[in-house]
Symmetry: C2
Subunit: 340 residues, 2 copies
DNA sequence: CTGTTAGCGCCTTCAT
DNA sequence: ATGAAGGCGCTAACAG
């Protein structure tokens, strides 16, 4: 009969060195392979053994080294999120949802900032790939052929988001910016607006929405590009400049909610009634739009849903299941409030 | 005489396998150690050799595996940022600055979300430590002794931010929330305000500011806690409730800029003049505060500076230099605008 | 300045 | 259900 193994006693890390599987294995009286299995595929290990291992893990204060684990298994349990920016970004709810879902699956998020114009993308991608992420979530459109090749060659599961590109690298989860523009045109016409002034950033997707709107609106459309960065201030000064320049329009259509809010504030400062004198519409569906004066009509995008779906796709690929579709349209929702 | 090495020709990755140092070494006609040195400490390698290595790297499409590199060198070149949330968070400029500074030094950011009340901290920290980050930037206050011990035992360089804790784990970069409260009290008195109503989230630091204000103000102070999450809507309804309940105050002091903005909107909706009938003050110094009607008085915190200083400290520690001080006070700035 | 060698800590066949 | 052993790709002495 094998002797009953002795009970496990507390035994802090030896001489400052961090405990390794060997330490845990010795203490639990099993081999290192069993430690690995108990931690990563418990279904292969006897219940009693698992318990011994857990005790030994606690006793040693063992924290697995996933650099080593990832090297050995070719699975880093890392997922990279590449976004243009993080300060005041519309993508943040997506990232937050990603982090939460991934954490539950034992994954961690690597954050890569590509810059508002994706000017750092070519620099960031190799840095990311060097960590061998199992998945990459992109919000950028990748035009550089070198970067596309690196991405494809990486073997990582890739998901593009916030758009439905014509030439996706892999699965894309997003919506058609052209459709949003057309939807807004339809909405504007149904409300009887005949002329519109569009205040937009110069970023590609915003311009695609503008073109969609122009194509479908029918009425008179003017527009102004206010740089790459949406702020309240830009909304205020855009409306001020427009009106002071003799501009006239039924509807001010903005490429971002904060711009629209600025327009609202400038209109109020000038004693203009919204929507009586001027209708205003934003984009993004940020929380604050419900609380402006008047409440802002906007286009809501469910960023958290994009994040959740993206993680689903990545986890599917990690589990060997093939992704369901190449293009997932999560749509958009025009939230009609008082301002338009 | 050694024969002149042959020129390097393009040679894509062998049979789908990702190229490794061995592939590059073979192609460049040097040993793997030289590849490693050329890439990580070029000052130790002859110029001509470096060029050969670079050519071979390009030819093979080699991307270093930093899981392996980190394992071998005990330097992951990863820095973890642990923040409560990322959506609409005041910490984002800090993270952005961190990412930028760190990217320049070859580091990447691991993102850990601890939850608004740090309820996920104990779960997130081990996940982070498993990746053996060289540094950790914390915004949470770490009360759990187990987590503190894990953090200390990790050997990672640790920086706490957005506060100057009484019992720092390591270097702290931030400001005194109590001092902000007192500074605001001083400011309010200097403007002649005799009574104040404070609208605040229930998060610890906001409450510390409230206490500092109460302690130094002298006049009458009432307050209302509006939950953990600052929104425009909460500002609006807080002022509405306060006034409808017969509340009277010279100054409405808000723990976040968006709350203050909501107060501004509600005041405008009720035809109250700001600051004539009611003064309003925010906290955070977000960009939009300059563009509200009227422009919002607020307390600006330089989050990007915190990020930059934090990275300095981490890189110092990585280079073996000892950090300069344990507590770095970056201060705060009251931006007096029209609203108060 | 460069090569040789021995791991870093873990996972994963292959046995048993 | 568990153990033994080789190797994942790279770096860091130590030589030369």
């Amino acid at each position: 009969l094998p002797p009953k193994p002795p009970p496990i006693e507390f035994q802090p890390g030896v001489a400052g060195r961090r405990p390794t599987v060997d330490d845990v294995a010795r203490l639990a009286g099993v081999s290192t392979a069993t430690i690995s299995r108990a931690l990563n595929s418990p279904e292969l290990v006897a219940e009693a053994t698992i318990k011994r291992v857990q005790d030994a893990v606690r006793a040693t204060g063992y924290v697995p080294n996933l650099l080593a684990g990832g090297l050995a298994s070719s699975r880093s349990r890392l997922v990279a999120a590449i976004v243009p920016e993080i300060a005041g970004s519309i993508f943040n709810p997506m990232i937050e949802a990603m982090c939460e879902e991934l954490a539950a699956a034992g994954y961690l998020v690597l954050l890569g900032l590509s810059g508002r114009r994706d000017e750092h993308l070519a620099r960031v991608v190799p840095q990311i790939l060097a960590r061998r992420p199992d998945g990459i979530i992109l919000t950028a459109e990748v035009t550089d052929e070198t970067v596309r090749a690196q991405l494809r060659a990486s073997g990582a599961a890739i998901v593009q988001t916030w758009d439905l590109p014509a030439d996706p690298i892999a699965t894309a989860i997003g919506f058609s910016h052209d459709a949003v523009g057309r939807g807004l045109a339809e909405f504007a016409r149904s409300r009887g607006y005949r002329s519109a002034h569009v205040v937009t950033t110069g970023l590609r997707r915003a311009l695609v929405r503008l073109h969609g709107f122009e194509a479908a609106f029918g009425g008179k459309v003017t527009h102004e590009v206010v740089g790459d960065f949406a702020t309240l201030e830009k909304g205020r000064s855009a409306l001020a400049g427009f009106l002071d320049g003799g501009g006239k329009a039924d509807l001010i259509l903005c490429s971002a909610d904060v711009i629209a809010h600025g327009v609202l504030l400038e209109a109020a400062a000038r004693g203009l009634k919204v929507p009586g004198d001027l209708a205003v519409c934003g984009f993004g569906g940020l929380d604050f739009t419900a609380a402006t004066a008047p409440p802002l009509t906007t286009v809501a995008i469910d960023g958290r849903a994009i994040g959740r779906r993206a993680v689903e796709v990545l986890l599917d690929r990690a589990a060997g299941r093939p992704p369901s579709q190449a293009l997932i349209d999560i749509g958009y929702q025009i939230i009609a409030r008082e301002s338009a």
